[in-house]
Symmetry: C2
Subunit: 470 residues, 2 copies
């Protein structure tokens, strides 16, 4: 741990234990530098880190203030026992379509949205990369880059993994139309209609839709709001159902925000390898961590080529470009062939633009800003949930991503709340969207990926009233 | 018929009947203007049309010369009786992958390629549209345009259909990652694993791969090299197999180049409607006609919403952009939902660029140049086939597109010829790629979508020697 990190940890500890309270002003950078005997830049970095974690916030010409503390956070939900552990045919698509369609206009306050605000992305900078790269584009690249995708982009992606300590060869990467296509192709590569597939409970609804479309049965395994999928329950499911694949979001799971620890990731990979079951790893939120470094993916622990790792630039750099990728391990050729027969290849200009952007630098700086914005917004939403939601409301405390999973007290019906909120111009993602058996009726996923302002605060207050009335 | 069209037809007739012979110089524009009593511009347009059809060619400062004639064309193949009329499981993907992969390097003379030369497209002009449209792009469009695609682009596509006399509402259009995704989504919308689907014989191999991937059975219906699918055989197949869909390329079919007449298209639509069978219409080559006007699509005759029409810009404007579309009639919502759950949405920058390009004009001019280039190249290839291929070789005479279907005499094995040609740096598409039962072993598809030059001519001569030796 670097000096600034340990300093930040000490201060965070003081906040957690109530030594420094909500609203307190921290000592100035100069004061702390003197009192601790460290350089001002170390203090500055520590404060920056605490701000990124949503614990303090700078006020112009006034200093840093504590904006969070253990006492003002809503309690965390427990692991749900709603997962049945049975093999279930899936029929949830229609509900998902209705919810997504209803929330699509930009007038609605998008707590139910799956996307962060497009204003958080460096779109003008990407436009420049697009212009310059397309002018230099070799006409023959459209043929050369079939089907795996732009070679320069695949190299840049491999380089980023390398920087995080994971060795990937560009030839293992297949560029796709967003992570969604990558995940779908990987699933098709390993499972046939009628097969069973393990998913988390609750899970990202696109996994449910994919299972439903292909005609697969879901085995929903309970997933802890902080620690991720329950490995004991998974072991039982593997014995009992002999699934053909396991689809898991290892980092900042959608909708829970859970992150598996390194140890649990390793145990997951080993457990699945022992059963010869491929892991489809959805890691689209891995770059959106609020901690000190990128959490590894399960792929980093894979020695057998059984992890089909999927990610994209849609959540962290270029929404709308629809550029994702799969690293399907031993299934690379199968996935490439499936890609060839379904969409042939991914749009060339967007790929060239991202390759150019990544090569020129600036991505890490953008990511730091994005993570900071998200963590500040998370903090604001957590405070607002405490302020406006009824007593007994629980909420996750994700250390990354842009979703809060909220468990409402009593017999709240979030499908009904979703309808009432929508009538007032507010969208939410009701719990039953995230489960094959339409459970989690008392849960909501709230998106904090949009800049916090008075309108958003008022919408959350309204939502709190609806919840209290329900 | 306009004056210049009838003049062109008269001259074409003279060429066909041998009154004007191969190599003859046509009277000058001025002479013909005087002798026929028409304006010079009418003569010029007639000559331009004849050139577009590959019958004459201008030589600088010398005039127009006949470069084609009935006597020098290879005879046309008959309708094949190789289609079995049985329901067949499909297992041809691996062969297709091998052939495509082997022909992917740009050093190979690409007679086996599925694409025209990228040099035939206005890539610099598209790059400009890309730069300007992406700079003006509304960040929220990435959300607004989910899932159906860029509204301005859908409007431009609808306008083009309108100009050709077909009324389409932009909301009926779903933008896809090329026509391939459109076709696959349409197929998934109407057929489930185990169902039967009618395809042409020979057919585009992507149809075979789609059937194979989904687990559908193929009913191959004989298709005439000039007139398209045999409607009597189709009627029998409909009675006998109760297929769930029919996948047909109505204009300049790949690989035959056949085009269904208006009457046959109408009869096709009515026959299928009588059986309640949806028609998946692949019309990606419709704009590449060599005649006077765009041939209508089967969709133009559809009153019941049973035609799922698919097309793209990949063959006629922007290869590599992967922008296609589906107009799925009564299945529009189903196809949009399938799109949402498989690839979510199509890359935004490419869509915006094409919308800008189409709005600013220039597309029709580009298309005229492209059609002209293709027809000239077709003529050159036909001549070369006569010159270099053994007696008894037959070839189609497509009135559009960029494929020649060649039937070799005797017991030629085109899989073997493909391997030998590849060793010499020449790719071809062997007949068995185009059939579920791997028939058409004595046939080749040759691509004339690349500018003709001495190297290409020499490669065709080499290929002719291989064929003769086989």
């Amino acid at each position: 741990m670097k000096r600034y990190e340990s300093l930040a940890e000490e201060i965070a500890q003081s906040i957690r234990t109530g030594v420094i309270k909500l609203g307190d002003r921290l000592p100035s950078v100069r004061q702390t530098s003197t009192s601790r005997g460290v350089s001002p830049s170390t203090v500055f970095e520590a404060y920056y880190l605490l701000e990124a974690r949503g614990l303090i916030r700078a006020r112009e010409r006034s200093g840093y203030y504590v904006i969070s503390g253990a006492k003002v956070l809503p309690p965390e939900p427990e692991q749900s026992s709603q997962a049945l552990g049975e093999s279930t045919p899936v029929d949830v698509s229609q509900l998902v379509f209705e919810v997504l369609e209803s929330a699509r206009t930009r007038d609605v306050v998008p707590f139910g949205s799956a996307f962060p605000s497009p204003l958080l992305f460096p779109l003008p900078r990407l436009a420049k990369s697009l212009s310059s790269s397309v002018q230099d584009m070799d006409p023959w690249s459209t043929v050369d880059d079939l089907t795996a995708g732009n070679a320069a982009l695949r190299r840049q992606i491999a380089l980023r993994y390398l920087a995080d300590g994971m060795h990937v060869h560009p030839d293992e990467i297949v560029i796709t139309n967003g992570a969604l296509e990558a995940l779908n192709l990987c699933l098709s590569a390993v499972a046939r209609p009628g097969d069973c597939v393990v998913i988390e409970s609750p899970t990202f609804y696109a996994a449910l839709q994919a299972l439903e479309r292909i005609g697969l049965n879901a085995i929903e395994v309970p997933t802890h709001p902080r620690e991720g999928i329950d490995l004991d329950a998974l072991a039982t499911a593997l014995e009992r159902h002999k699934p053909k694949a396991c689809w898991i979001m290892t980092n900042f799971q959608n909708p829970l925000g859970s992150m598996m620890s390194d140890e649990r990731k390793q145990a997951l990979v080993e457990l699945l390898a022992a059963h010869g079951v491929p892991l489809i790893e959805d890691d689209v939120y891995g770059e959106l961590y609020f901690g000190n470094k990128r959490p590894p993916s399960a792929r980093a622990f894979d020695a057998k080529g059984l992890v089909l790792h999927c990610s994209s630039f849609s959540k962290c750099l270029a929404p709308g470009y629809r550029i994702g990728w799969a690293m399907p391990g031993r299934y690379t050729k199968d996935v490439a062939h499936l890609k060839l027969t379904t969409t042939l290849s991914t749009s060339a200009p967007g790929q060239a633009a991202l390759a150019d952007y990544l090569a020129k630098g600036g991505y890490d700086k953008h990511l730091r800003q994005l993570r900071h914005a998200l963590s500040v917004q998370q903090s604001a939403m957590m405070q607002a949930v405490v302020r406006y939601f009824p007593r007994g409301t629980k909420a996750t405390r994700p250390n990354g991503g842009y979703f809060l999973w909220v468990e409402l007290p009593g017999q709240a019906n979030t499908l009904e709340i979703h309808r009432r909120a929508l009538a007032l111009g507010i969208s939410v993602a009701p719990g039953p969207m995230f489960s094959a058996h339409r459970g989690f009726t008392n849960c909501l996923r709230l998106n904090y990926g949009h800049p916090w302002d008075a309108k958003v605060e008022a919408a959350l207050a309204t939502l709190g009233r609806l919840v209290a009335a329900a």
